[in-house]
């Protein structure tokens, strides 16, 4: 089959690889009908996440048709249409039973690597380095889904792929980011990053009772989408001093809730951002937390900073004193997918949201390498690319 393989920094290729087989009784094989490229994939493409290997198949936002199930999978059958969440969860451990699905104890076959870096291992993830299991990903014609009796969500026939595909990651991710804010009626929510995750965080903030949403980015068409689709006020971080502007817009108090939907590759031209770039380039620090610093600095006293943006390692000049002395609440993590997929599918079915609004590009899997370049450099007004195998 064809699959998109990582071959090194800025080097992904569509290659012929064997088709996946059932390896465990709780596996299923899904024939991919639609899949997508995520901002998280860019961290791999840019070489920011360690423990990648040449030949790894990428992709963690897939959906398709079940073609085969293992002996222990009784809730799915060949022919079922499913969305596959990017986190892999056993359903039986302490963490799964607390609905902390992305922290499953039993789904990472290479947990010892993650334990060395983090103390304890999070769940296995599709197509996201060997630290989270080294599972082959979904930018391919077929995908092997472990613990398939737990993760995949069945999709009713009448809903087209594009309306439900983002239940695999970014819609739940944006939603959990807003939920983690513990929004109180009338709160001002500031969202750093107007990529796909930021766009869903904006929509979700409204769903959860925000009084006002302010979105921050530098890419005009993304800010435009935040205004048009997200009904947010927007700030361009190239033009404005974000802290001063947010302070002024909130009558001197600061936003109540701040969401970092940027992650470890934040851009910026302030001194700390340049310093991060230099340090990361010299490999003295692993992450560039410019947006996160700014969110902590700008957040009002007693507010919440919610971090869906991915971080991998060690952050330099992290303003912990500001977080401490302002009594902030920090919430973060990979999304606990299974908690959100069904309720958000219900919202889609009720017509409250059509997640396909973020799609700007449709390509074949064969064109995925060009897609990575387009998405990375935000060429051609690219915001979200979906791929058809």
């Amino acid at each position: 089959m064809k699959a998109l393989c990582w071959n090194g920094k800025n080097d992904v290729r569509v290659e012929d690889v064997p088709e996946p087989k059932i390896l465990n009784p709780r596996d299923a094989i899904v024939k991919i009908t639609t899949t997508a490229i995520c901002g998280s994939d860019l961290h791999l493409y840019d070489g920011y996440i360690p423990t990648m290997e040449k030949g790894d198949i990428l992709g963690h936002e897939p959906m398709g048709e079940v073609v085969e199930v293992g002996s222990e999978v009784t809730n799915l059958k060949p022919g079922d249409r499913v969305v596959v969440p990017f986190t892999i969860s056993c359903g039986n451990c302490f963490f799964c039973q607390k609905e902390l699905w992305s922290l499953c104890d039993n789904s990472n076959p290479k947990a010892s690597i993650a334990e060395k870096l983090y103390g304890y291992s999070p769940a296995g993830l599709f197509g996201y380095s060997h630290m989270t299991g080294g599972y082959a990903g979904g930018q391919a014609e077929y995908l092997r889904v472990p613990f398939a009796d737990v993760g995949p969500l069945k999709i009713p026939e009448e809903l087209p792929d594009e309306k439900v595909l983002f239940l695999s990651d970014i819609f739940p991710t944006g939603y959990m980011a807003a939920e983690n804010c513990s929004i109180e009626g009338g709160d001002t929510v500031a969202v750093w990053g107007c990529g796909p995750v930021g766009q869903f965080a904006i929509k979700s903030a409204w769903m959860l009772g925000a009084g006002r949403v302010i979105a921050i980015d530098e890419v005009p068409e993304r800010l435009q989408m935040a205004r048009d689709e997200g009904k947010a006020e927007t700030l361009d971080f190239d033009d404005e001093d974000i802290f001063d502007k947010l302070k002024e817009m909130t009558g001197g108090r600061g936003p109540d809730r701040c969401i970092d939907a940027v992650g470890l590759e934040a851009h910026g031209a302030t001194i700390d951002a340049l310093y991060d770039r230099a340090k990361a380039a010299l490999f003295m620090a692993t992450d560039r937390p410019h947006a996160l610093r700014q969110a902590i600095h700008a957040c009002r006293k007693g507010g919440t900073v919610s971090v869906p943006g991915v971080y991998g390692g060690f952050l330099d000049k992290f303003p912990f004193g500001a977080a401490f002395n302002k009594g902030l609440t920090l919430k973060m993590g990979q999304t606990h997918m299974r908690r959100y997929m069904q309720p958000l599918l219900d919202r889609i079915q009720r017509g409250e949201i059509d997640p396909s609004f973020v799609i700007t590009h449709r390509m074949t899997l064969a064109d995925a390498p060009a897609g990575y370049e387009t998405f990375k450099h935000k060429k051609d007004n690219c915001i979200k690319i979906v791929l058809k195998p």
Binding site: G55, F94, P109, K110, K116
Partner: protein, 278 residues
């Protein structure tokens, strides 16, 4: 005890570049023991070492890099399948099998006597009842399902069993063992019998978590390395990170008990697959 060794390792630790390289090897061997492809070690090292030696100890990352720093004799543990480089001379190490109700270190019935051999202790919390875990473990023929270095265990009598462990170059090490102490749903203790290739003993305890969060499983394994060539062979067999190997065995036990299977990627496609073409 394992903890004190680890701390000693950290203190001794990790500053020389040579050790860093070996730390990388350790990652690789741990990786191989889980059956996957070796990770991109040089990148991992670079990543970890970017933080600097001093900070590493603080972050516990030192465990990546302290492979050889524990020094001392090689400690191997067959059956649980492990080798441990431990500091000798710690009296605590020679406690009996970690069981209050069981034989003490001076008990003449223990295969690996006090004052000889080495011991590794590990624990894991499993979301199952003591009874479920006990009954799975009590059938020793199940052990090779999660102890990777065992080829087979055959139950030969009420309390007797025959163990075969994998050794280098396709050879095997074998011994007979007996259960000499057990308490239903609480404890199983076994030891090798006279004439074993490698004297060893082990115990497992199952304790209900007092707050109802499953069962705490505590495993103690002791091994008396033979001298000479066989000892070296066994040491080689169990590699560089023995405590990690026991940890991996216990992890697989937990996975098997909780999830009904152990997660794997072995046999999945990648651009590295033999039949992959461009």
């Amino acid at each position: 005890m394992a903890e004190s060794m680890r701390l000693a390792g950290e203190a001794a630790g990790l500053v020389s570049p040579a050790e860093e390289t070996e730390g990388g090897n350790k990652v690789q061997s741990a990786e191989q023991s889980t059956g996957g492809h070796p990770v991109n070690v040089s990148e991992m090292e670079r990543w970890a070492s970017s933080i600097g030696g001093g900070a590493l100890a603080v972050y516990g990352i030192s465990r990546l890099l302290t492979n050889r720093s524990l020094g001392g004799a090689v400690l191997a543990l067959v059956g649980g399948a492990l080798v441990y480089r431990g500091a000798s001379g710690h009296c605590e190490m020679y406690h009996a099998l970690g069981i209050d109700t069981a034989a003490g270190s001076d008990n003449p019935n223990v295969s690996v006597r006090g004052g000889r051999g080495f011991k590794v202790e590990k624990s894991v919390t499993i979301n199952k009842s003591p009874a479920e875990l006990y009954s799975f473990w009590r059938n020793f023929e199940n052990l090779p399902r999660f102890m990777n270095h065992l080829e087979s265990v055959q139950v030969t009598g009420d309390n007797r069993s025959h163990w075969v462990a994998k050794a280098p170059a396709g050879s095997t090490v074998a011994w007979d063992a007996e259960i000499y102490n057990e308490k239903e749903n609480e404890l199983i203790a076994w030891r090798s019998l006279e004439g074993a290739d490698v004297d060893n003993a082990g115990s497992v305890r199952f304790e209900s978590d007092p707050n109802g969060r499953g069962t705490i499983v505590r495993v103690t394994l002791k091994y008396d390395p033979p001298g000479g060539t066989l000892g070296k062979l066994v040491a080689k067999l169990f590699g560089e990170a023995p405590d990690q190997q026991v940890e991996e065995d216990l992890r697989r036990f937990k996975q098997l008990m909780e999830a009904g299977e152990t997660p794997t990627t072995e046999g999945q496609p990648s651009g590295r697959s033999a039949t992959a073409g461009k």
